[in-house]
Amino acid sequence: MEMQGKSVFGGVAMGRLSIYKKSDNVVKRVKVSDIDAELQRFEDATVKAKKQLAALYDKAMKEVGETSAAIFEVHQMMLDDLDFKESITNMIKTQNVNAEYAVAVSGDNFSTMFAAMDDDYMKARAADVKDISNRVISVLQGAEDTKLDSNEPVILVAEDLAPSETVQLDKSLLLSFVTRYGSTNSHTAILARTMNIPALIGVDYDDGIDGHFGIVDGFEGVLYIDPDEATIQKYRKKQEEEAEKARLLQELKGMPDITKDGKKINLYANIGGVGDVPSVLQNDASGIGLFRSEFLYLGSETFPTEEEQFNAYRSVVQTMAGKKVIIRTLDIGADKQVDYFNLEHEDNPAMGYRAIRICLEQPDIFKTQLRAIYRASSYGSIAIMFPMIISVSEVKRIKDIVAEVKEELGSQGIEYGDVELGIMIETPAAVWMTEELAKEVDFFSIGTNDLTQYTLAIDRQNPRLDSFYDAHHPAVLRAIQMTVENGHKGGAWVGICGELGADTTLTETFLRMGVDELSVSPSRILAVRSAIRNCDLSK
């Protein structure tokens, strides 16, 4: 039997299915005569519940890190919340009810309030309120924490799992999570990713599967129950391949990006927002080679303020703790829907009024971004690169504006750090001008996606052109070679931040050309590292 769900983390798991049963907090309404004693019971239970949460926080910090642990700190504060507490104590005082009942009713009320809010994140907080109420009730009833009823590793099947439940589970007994509810952003999903085990949500199972043998395919989002021998063999093989891959890649974590004959290259990551930074660190990139700043503009209804931008840049730079962060200035054109820019419709937006062209025509927008970046530069190591350059005069104009910004900041007594300036090489014109451009900047970053499109005159969105398209076209490779040579001649280092940078069949070619940096998506870091470390340029 097969059941389709939605995968929140890839991988293959095989084992016995075990349905997780929550401890039933059956709460009865009981009339109490000694109100003070009942208030004291509630107070004692709260103290004990907070102690449990503090212990869970420590456990989660050790096992899965701060992102997953933080919720238990918030839970402790929620237990201290005066509105919540007063609601409970008032019920005990005025209705003479037992503490369990008062907690259950207040928990339901607060949880309903969050569930009714028009915001998915806040809706998820309804589960947190339930979780803390159940914890206090369990303490009041003297119930033990639920445990996995097994001594062999299982695929855990549940309706949904609260963070306090997942963190209490013995991780060595967990092969995979399968839940009926939950979202890709739920705590369970985060935990699965941190633990690196496959997990499915949205699986409509029935209780009859308890104890049966199952396979979780976290790539396709499928749960197999009592699979036949052929399926088992297929997944056993897949599991072995995955384990081998994971083992190899894990070995490479913390290893330098250096070829067998000792040539070093900088391996950086591309990100599109603040939320991508954890995966940069997880995959052990030595810096950020392309921080696309568009998310600040696309996710907004008006121009993002200097303060908003500063906060985003600062947060990334601080998290990267001294590692280099290369921010690409605004790269927006008529192909992206940003109403407040009031861009006119263009027939050919790829060659239109976009990126640096907007920034040079509307220096107010540009200066706001530059000020925010320079302010953030005193918190770590920042470099800036400018997209869509075609000529030296543009770079000179940019540098004038940068000088104005620095002067303004200086006269206002605002600190900033040393910032390297670079340009994207993504137009054939820029490639031809690399000799002159190299004298103006600290570095080049080759954007191979646009460079390929402009060099071959092929629109990548048009499937009819697929037979003409060659990602390894010699014209593109020669353009890269020329850029590297001219860059070095003029004293600029040269990186690649387009998709080609992550193409491991070209890693050796790039190393031989003398490319100084490759910037790839976080998930490709370790694969590229493996390719670099397998190269021997002396042969």
Binding site: V74, M78, D83, F110, N311
Partner: protein
């Protein structure tokens, strides 16, 4: 009574964690600390209330302090908002 108005710049808004940090800060003052959005006002010393405002990035909130030490409180809170929210 003292007050200031501030537009949230943290991309997360005042969600669970930032709300927790704000409560800790507000709880340190003897005066009352209220936070208002679109005419709804809650006690900044209570986390559920703050969370229930559902404040997101770009929204404007008004912070009010009333009572003992309100001058210091409002000044420190304004700095706190600028630095954290």
């Amino acid at each position: 009574m003292k007050e200031f108005t501030y537009t949230i710049t943290d991309p997360e808004g005042i969600h669970a964690r930032p709300a927790g940090v704000l409560v800790k800060q507000a709880a340190g003052y003897a005066c009352s600390v209220k936070i208002a959005k679109d005419g709804r006002e809650v006690d900044a010393k209570r986390i559920m209330g703050i969370m229930s405002l559902g404040v997101k990035c770009g929204m404007e909130v008004t912070v009010k302090c009333d009572g003992e030490g309100e001058d210091t409180a409002i000044a420190e809170l304004e700095t706190f908002f600028k630095e954290n929210l």
